[in-house]
Amino acid sequence: MQNPAPNLMKPLPISRYTVTSALGAGVQAHAQALRSECSGLRQLAFDTNTLPCWLGEVADFDKPLPAERSQWDCRNNRLAEFALAQDDFVAAAARCRDRYGADRIGVFVGTSTSGVQQTELAYRERDVAANRLPAWFDHRTTQNIFSIADFVALRLGVSGPRLAISTACSSSAKVFAAARRAIEMGDCDAAIVGGVDSLCLTTLYGFNSLQLLSADICRPADAKRNGISIGEAAGFALLDPGADAAVHLLGYGETSDAYHMSSPDPDGLGAVAAMRAALACAGLDAAAVDYVNLHGTGTMANDSAESRAMCTVFGESLPCSSTKGWTGHTLGAAGIVEAAISMLCIEQGFMPRSLNTREKDAALAANILLESRTAKVRRTLSNSFGFGGSNCTLLFGAAA
């Protein structure tokens, strides 16, 4: 229709990436967990939650930030601090900073709720009579959506363009597109992209109010799937046009459903358009893709619409799976977690299966993997869809 897509992009090298989720800290922990078929989801106590559900909690990170960053202390920034410490990411970012200059490195971070858990804690301690929140509560460094981007830039000592993207569950996929635009505009020479979302009662009780939170473990594509398990995660990637890298961002596609605030278009038209836009951006056709990491939340509506969209774009044979049975739905971090898994699939020649899927829903025609595969994987697509009908598909490929 409008805008005759001129945005054919040059492959953008990803010189470093890292991911931390319920599967563990760092890329190798994820590779091992995916091969050993061990879900990170558990039935465990979180905060004062009383809802029956499975959670994807990250282990061993919830410690106060160092004194020089104590103003930023909250669960979300603690998770970012812990994740940045994996895979030598801080050192890789520092080398990039030394090469281009601190003000030439952009920071683009996705989150859905940022540090809202800090606000939950502050409301618990509020002075009801005086209608006053406790003195320790700092909105700008915790609750505010931007705080996570500001914190990451502070932690890595970079001062180029920075922003937070918050489009619900597509947030940290869209950061790749925003970073590529900023680099092409000349606003920065390289970019740190990422996503961070941490467990909080707002999302647990919120998804429960919409009857989307499962009491069972998340079972993507299962005939009896009945909702999501919520997880927390953080991940980062360094996009450096001047680097040699094993994996490149080849394309992205961003679309809107224009259908409903909290349900996907049943025919997956927005998802179809996002996948096709990612292919067009890379100048590739559907046959170039070896594996698709699905959004695959485990709700009836998402998995059904996404399978339809897959079949429209790729037919019924292309291998695909959701990894939310492993990590849970990490919401605003899902984009970066699944981008990291998609890159890992290319580097390790591996396609993970749809974990916890007992009996595949016969109505889903897409080739959803029930067994993991070892195979050469040259290119992967990763789908991320969010409330408000916000869709983003990323296309990754091995260096040519």
């Binding site: 959506i145 937070a164 489009t167 109010s209 916000s390």
Partner: protein, 268 residues
């Protein structure tokens, strides 16, 4: 980026909603200093583009964003369905965060499902795409007090790099107490710009930007400076002042501490 700055794109239309500024058309004479600024409260807005179901569910924050967006569409020759969107807001809806965090302190914990789906930062973007049937790309960003200019740069990238004509809507609403003490956004303000790749018969000005280390431009009167500082979206007012005065020139809009976007306008 070269010395001249980014590639030139075009300002197709403007929308505004703020105390004393019910719409762009009536704001022009004030911003030209032909009429004094009078800070009359902004009346609640009933979005005309929303279907009845969505209109019922839309929060005051979404309505504010629509007020500026719909105002810009009044004078845009590019249909809303054909525009990508960038929504820029520091905090989107702290009224909902207040209600949810309050509900979480009470037993049993009952969160309204409508509140939860409206709590996402991109709620206004979602309602907008439904209202106008836009399947184009849409992003929603936050950069605290710098949200306007950071959103503007992202919108320029969508136009120049992705080739999408783009609607930018920057908006924030004052939060309720007790959050107001922690985030004193004093006035509701929303600013919208339609930015296009090619000039049209409607084009107001050519626009390009550079990144600079400089302090932000201020407004010519204390009243208008108050509006600029009262809300993250208000930080865009110096640009609107140039547009209203039909003057070529450059204004610096803040994107960080001592970091600005020097936005240059060329009237056409």
């Amino acid at each position: 980026m070269n010395e001249a700055g980014s590639k030139e794109i075009f300002v197709e239309a403007v929308g505004l909603a703020a105390p004393g500024f019910a719409n762009w058309q009536s704001a022009v004479s004030v911003l030209r200093n032909e009429r004094p600024y009078v800070a009359t409260a902004l009346p609640p807005h009933a979005p005309v583009l929303l279907p009845p179901n969505e209109r019922r569910r839309a929060s005051p924050t979404v309505r504010l964003a629509f007020q500026a967006g719909e105002d810009a569409m009044q004078s845009s020759s590019i249909a809303a369905a054909n525009l990508a969107t960038v929504f820029a807001s520091s905090d989107a809806d702290l009224n909902i965060i207040h209600r949810i965090c309050t509900a979480l302190t009470v037993t049993p914990r009952m969160i309204s499902p409508t509140d939860f789906h409206n709590s996402v930062h991109n709620a206004a973007a979602g309602y907008w795409s439904i209202a106008v049937g836009a399947r184009a790309p849409s992003s929603t960003i936050s950069a605290h007090d710098y949200s306007f200019a950071v959103g503007l740069a992202e919108a320029c990238g969508c136009v120049v790099i992705d080739g999408c004509d783009t609607l930018l809507v920057a908006f924030d609403l004052p939060p309720p107490e007790p959050l107001y003490q922690k985030r004193p956004i004093a006035q509701p303000v929303a600013v919208a710009l339609v930015l296009s790749r090619l000039s049209t018969a409607n084009t107001l000005a050519g626009l390009r930007y550079r990144r600079v280390r400089a302090s932000p431009s201020t407004m010519s009167t204390p009243d208008l400076e108050t509006v600029r500082l009262a809300n993250p979206a208000g930080r865009g007012l110096p640009l609107l002042e140039l547009l209203a005065q039909r003057r070529d020139g450059e204004v610096v809009l803040p994107v960080g501490e001592n970091a600005g976007l020097a936005v240059r306008l060329r009237m056409v």
